[in-house]
């Protein structure tokens, strides 16, 4: 029997699942006693600082480190040459057979390909001294032409982002469903447009951080890493260093100060710091500062979408064609983002004929990777902007147009006809898209605002209403794992492979464990993110953990419960296993005076008596584990609706009302799920209206501080009305889907739709996101702004 067959077998009662339990993590964080990586206090720890490329593209002709080495307090300087033994390519986490893969090394060797690429590392007694020494390293660069946009990458006779490469295309992928060419040829109406979407970076408030120490007694390398994916990082290190996985223990601290995608990737610095610690036989720590974060932590950047839709007189969609350019940056750390975009465009609509096509381009900018939303906001923007254009063309209400085209609740599982990035056919598992749409339409008082919009227009005020719907592939495989153990103190310890960055795993997984066992939460503790405690895991990304680690915890705890009850039955000399938990006691259901405490049970089954035969029938060692592998991705969904007012003089758009309808399947903890959605929305508003990275034509980053790059503060994130529809996923026993990204994904599309709607009297076009005041003013004036600052 496969795991998937087993899971449905054991029923459980939902008492804690669905409860708004306040978080266990809060106390330490509120009192300043959180355990973040930089709080690690090891004696004699040396500190690292990286010298980074100051050119977008250059050959390294020589590096002179002698002056740096002479600085008192400097212990060592390593260049790429010095790290030769471990200088292997770091492979793309999501690849493609057609990928033109260019080696991404932990540190530059003879050339640099983006500003910020590590060139050397100084190890000193403290960071101040290490940074002093950085200034004294002399690198002889020969500058080469740099690529600073996908348009530049694809231009005829474009210089190469990498010398010796075939061209600047990393991969070209096409997906098709139905017969889009025939559908377009025969369609009554066809509209097309080009949209660009620039996304912000992750901007976790804690930057990246790594520390490492070689345990010379056990020979184990211990690495602390503020990562979203400890096992992925451990595997990468084992590969680079050619070490056994057990000889590396990688720990993501209990407190990681935000992740949002970039910390789920693996970086050169993560490879260099532990290596150096092994060479020097001293603990070494590197804490990224914000300036480094701006130039060397992966971000998402621009996609350019050329979208075409075919439709009939009633607004029914007949075909969709989206050809888009994705800025992959200087190296392919993974193709997950554009591959997700490729299959997210059709969204919740029935479209019989689809053509999506990706040109992923090498540029000379920091590599891109997943940032909360991960390729979905761009896809949703392309589709939802076109839905508004179709409605405008037909003179139809845009909400009505959407309603007509939605996949209906009785059509699941719904096969779109494309492949998702997890390697399985894009098959929506469950949902209720019409309820989400009608829910936001009602709650925002759509009809009322349409009336007010008309009235206020006569007074010269510009009100706009925007709607955006989306479907989000989440809960990705391959698997996630959990262990459950009865400890010496009589508590159940749940060990997750996955590591949190603020999601509240210590609380949520105790809730799930509590229901799995029928045991009060107070007897359950959760620990996370340590490869020394559980050997396999994947990591926290793609809104996948609740739908994968959740079932693993459920199954491990159900198995532990059975072992505990078996032990109790032997100890109490009772046939059968009709037991219940009462406080810390296992009691006979029909007579609760008969029972044993968890401490007594652990004493018998786990601690035992040295050399004395175990009671016959007691399972030795009350520890269980489960790895849950979903059959395929689950699909969360939602709709956003927004009312904005635009000041045509200043270009300022003010959000007057915002409603989110969200369906992540079973809600485990409504307090925390609301927190995920509202927090994701904060990032969505940033993406929609504020956050934009600029590079000049030589690929020099122009936004390298929070003075140049606007993160939304409390003044920018408007209040939200949030409601949930719960369509449980049939793909896991909890019915869970992902909740981390739904607040973010459709926000740029909804805002852009609303602003264009407000500007309809001018016939202005909003084709670029973020929708900033200069873009709005330019759109009113009938022009578009140049994307690059020159």
């Amino acid at each position: 029997m496969s795991r998937r067959d087993e899971q449905a077998a054991v029923p459980f009662t939902k008492n804690m699942i669905g409860a708004a339990v306040e978080r266990r993590e809060d106390y330490r964080l509120l009192t300043g006693h959180g355990k973040f990586l930089d709080d690690l206090d090891m004696p004699d720890t040396l500190e690292a600082a990286f010298l980074r490329s100051s050119f977008g593209h250059a050959r390294i002709l020589g590096i002179d480190t002698s002056a740096a080495l002479a600085v008192p307090g400097v212990v060592a300087v390593f260049t790429g040459e010095d790290l030769r033994p471990m200088m292997k390519p770091m492979p793309a986490k999501v690849a493609h057979p057609d990928l033109q893969e260019i080696a991404r090394l932990p540190m530059a060797l003879d050339a640099v390909h983006y500003v910020g690429e590590p060139v050397a590392v100084v190890i000193a007694t403290n960071r101040y001294i290490a940074e002093d020494a950085l200034d004294l390293i002399d690198v002889d660069y020969q500058e080469l032409p740099a690529i600073s946009s996908t348009a530049a990458a694809l231009a005829p006779d474009a210089p190469l982002a990498h010398e010796g490469a075939r061209d600047n295309i990393a991969v070209h992928v096409t997906q098709r469903a139905g017969d889009p060419d025939a559908a377009f040829a025969s369609a009554p109406h066809v509209l097309s447009e080009t949209f660009t979407v620039t996304r912000g970076g992750g901007h976790s408030m804690e930057c990246r951080a790594v520390a490492a120490r070689l345990d010379t007694v056990t020979g184990q390398l211990v690495v602390w890493d503020s990562t979203q994916a400890p096992h992925y990082a451990r595997n990468a290190l084992a590969n680079l260093y050619d070490m056994r996985e057990d000889d590396i223990r990688l720990i993501a601290p209990a407190d990681v100060g935000g992740g949002f995608g970039p910390k789920a990737q693996f970086y050169g610095e993560e490879a260099v710091v532990p290596w150096v610690a092994m060479q020097l036989r001293k603990p070494v720590k590197w804490i990224e500062d914000r300036r480094e974060n701006f130039i060397s932590t992966m971000m998402e950047r621009t996609q350019t979408h050329r979208v075409k839709v075919a439709f009939d007189d009633d607004g029914m969609l007949l075909a969709l064609r989206d050809v888009f350019e994705h800025d992959q940056g200087a190296y392919v750390a993974g193709l997950q983002v554009p591959m997700i975009t490729l299959s997210t465009v059709p969204g919740p609509y029935k479209i019989p004929n689809i053509h999506t096509e990706l040109f992923s381009c090498y540029t000379n900018m920091v590599p891109t990777s997943s940032v909360r939303g991960a390729g979905r906001p761009q896809a949703v923007a392309a589709m939802e902007r076109m839905m508004d254009r179709v409605a405008e063309y037909l003179g139809m209400d845009p909400a009505e147009l959407r309603r007509r085209n939605l996949i209906q609740p009785d059509e699941f599982p719904y096969k779109v006809g494309l492949m998702f990035r997890d390697g399985s056919p894009l098959t929506y598992d469950s949902g209720n898209y019409p309820e989400l749409l009608s829910g936001v339409v009602e709650r925002i008082d759509y009809d009322g605002w349409r009336r007010r919009q008309a009235e206020l227009r006569t007074q010269g005020r510009l009100i706009g209403i925007g709607i955006a719907c989306y479907v989000e592939g989440c809960g990705l495989g391959p698997y996630e794992g959990a262990k459950a153990r009865l400890t010496n103190s009589g508590e159940v310890l749940v060990t997750l492979a996955a590591a949190p960055q603020g999601q509240g795993y210590e609380t949520v997984y105790a809730q799930i464990a509590s229901d799995a066992m029928g045991l009060d939460m107070e007897h359950i503790r959760v620990t996370t993110g340590d490869t020394g405690r559980i050997p396999f895991g994947q990591g926290t990304f793609a809104s996948r953990i609740t739908a994968t680690a959740g079932p693993a915890v459920l199954q491990a705890c159900q198995a532990l419960r059975a072992r505990i009850f078996t032990t109790a039955a032997v100890m109490l000399k009772i046939e059968g296993d009709n037991f219940v938990f009462r406080g810390d006691r296992v009691c006979l259901a029909e007579d609760e005076s008969i029972g044993a405490t968890l401490r007594e049970i652990t004493q018998v089954a786990n601690i035992g008596k040295h050399g004395i035969t175990l009671l016959r029938g007691v399972p030795a060692g009350l520890e269980t584990q489960a790895y849950f592998a979903p059959e395929r991705a689950a699909y969360a969904s939602g709709a956003h609706a927004v009312v904005v007012e635009v000041d045509p003089e200043t270009g300022r758009a003010t959000v007057l009302k915002y409603v989110i309808g969200h369906d992540c399947g079973t809600v485990i903890n409504p307090l925390l799920v609301d927190g995920q959605v509202l927090g994701g929305f904060g990032a969505g508003i940033g993406n929609a209206m504020y956050e934009e990275q600029f590079y000049d034509e030589s690929a020099q980053p122009q936004t390298t501080s929070y003075l140049d790059f606007s993160l939304p503060s409390s003044m920018e994130v408007p209040p939200v009305t949030l409601f949930h529809v719960q369509s449980p996923s049939p793909l896991n026993p909890l019915g869970a889907k992902g909740a981390g990204e739904g607040g973010t994904i459709p926000a740029p599309a909804a805002i852009a739709n609303a602003v264009e709607d407000a500007l309809r009297p001018f016939g202005a076009r909003i084709n670029e996101i973020p929708v900033t005041p200069p873009r709005i003013v330019a759109a009113i004036a009938g022009r578009t702004t140049a994307r690059q600052m020159s």
Partner: protein
């Protein structure tokens, strides 16, 4: 940890009162107050998010005023009274503001939280915060990337009402 005294650089003698307790130390002139608190005094609740004075994660109170401890040198705090997030709770008992944060899920990763708590503490000492708009202004000097601020706005208004007995207007 040893004071940062290195060849050719004189250590500066420093006396500060932190959370009511006097500390004497020697530090390099260039050491920021944030690094001094974190490294010399092991008060690691003060976090560094941007080191250029925008994110506010490093906010502490110096003689009652909220300051960015990443932009202030430790020696500038000589003789001053400094309050950090570690000083907010009374023993194991959370302050009303901390309780309100917990109740309203006003923190997720918790990295920015200490700075917010200190900024809000300074603001609430100046007087009540009565409207959502005012609460947003109080929070606007700090950045949180996790929560979207909704829980924090509620926490500020509830704490103000408790402390000042005023009713939130919105």
């Amino acid at each position: 940890m040893q004071p940062d005294v290195h060849d050719g650089i004189d250590g500066q003698v420093l006396r500060v009162i932190v959370n009511g307790k006097e500390h004497r130390g020697v530090t390099e002139a260039r050491t920021t107050l944030a690094d001094f608190l974190r490294r010399e005094l092991a008060l690691t609740g003060t976090h560094l998010g941007c080191e250029h004075g925008v994110c506010g994660a490093c906010t502490v109170l110096v003689n009652g005023s909220a300051v960015r401890s990443c932009l202030m040198l430790a020696v500038q705090a000589d003789g001053a009274e400094v309050e950090t997030v570690e000083g907010l709770a009374d023993g194991n008992e959370l302050s009303p503001l901390q309780e309100a944060f917990h109740r309203n899920h006003a923190l997720q990763c918790g990295f920015c939280t200490g700075g917010f708590l200190m900024s809000i503490t300074a603001a609430l000492r100046e007087g009540p915060v009565e409207t959502e708009e005012e609460a947003r202004e109080v929070l606007s000097g700090n950045i949180c990337r996790c929560t979207g601020y909704a829980g924090m706005i509620k926490a500020v208004l509830e704490t103000s009402e408790q402390a000042h007995g005023t009713k939130a207007a919105s």
